[in-house]
Symmetry: C2
Subunit: 146 residues, 2 copies
């Protein structure tokens, strides 16, 4: 664990990502975050490595881990929300720190069939909703007994 | 090669993707396509397997290959276009066949800093532009001597 701590030492979550999200858990590579927007069940994966901008800034081994963490996150959203479609995207035009969106889309949601990054404004969860959702996500990611 | 041919047998490119793109090459897993929209250097990867909708419909081994083909495509766009940012996304809200967008973004492009799926209309390449770009991409993907 000491080696892990040293490797993580210089990772700092970008302040805008931190402001827009709640922390769910840390996987082997990525921090899992819940976007604070109840219009969409929306998680964000941020690889806990310094100075990453693009997926190809990760070495191949880490890219493989990222893909499996995307899959794990996708499955968690599938199990909890039974979406009509998953949207997976690494854009980063506005926030320079590498982050991957994994979003559960419904045909009835506020943006369907368009991407979520467009018109409209985030609708924050209240405190009770946040707590309940973080509990459910924690169970999905195996942090708590299920 | 016969086994490969049998495995690919039931893959058919979705008609809307076929209509919007030019074929660049086939990698081990994905067909590489050039989006016919000169506003953005924009490639699309379509895994050549039948009945895929989500990344998690692929088995883990194919997911790892997909990630490396995304990386290879990203590097090709980097080398050719020196973008300010790469955008990588599997959305599929409108076209149900699994496909991954890999797009070279410039701060001066028609949509920056927004995603490319929004206002505005595709601007097709003319025949000479298409041929020249497919040649360059072919070299990047190692299809022709470089």
């Amino acid at each position: 664990m000491d080696v892990y701590a040293i490797k993580m030492n210089s990772f700092t979550l970008h302040e805008r990502v931190a402001a827009d999200t709640h922390a769910v858990c840390d996987l082997a590579l990525c921090r899992v975050l819940l976007m604070n927007d109840k219009r969409f069940p929306w998680l964000v994966l941020v690889p806990m490595r310094p100075d990453l901008r693009e997926i190809i800034d990760l070495p191949p081994g880490d890219r493989a881990v990222l893909m499996e963490e995307i899959a794990r996150t996708s499955s968690a959203l599938n199990d909890l929300f039974a979406p009509d479609k998953l949207n997976v995207a690494a854009l980063g035009n506005k926030v320079p720190q590498l982050h991957v969106h994994v979003i559960a889309r419904k045909k009835t949601d506020a943006a369907w069939p368009n991407p979520v990054w467009g018109p409209g404004t985030a609708e924050p969860y209240d405190k009770a909703e946040t707590g309940a959702l973080l509990d459910k996500l924690g169970i999905q990611f195996g942090l708590k007994g299920n």
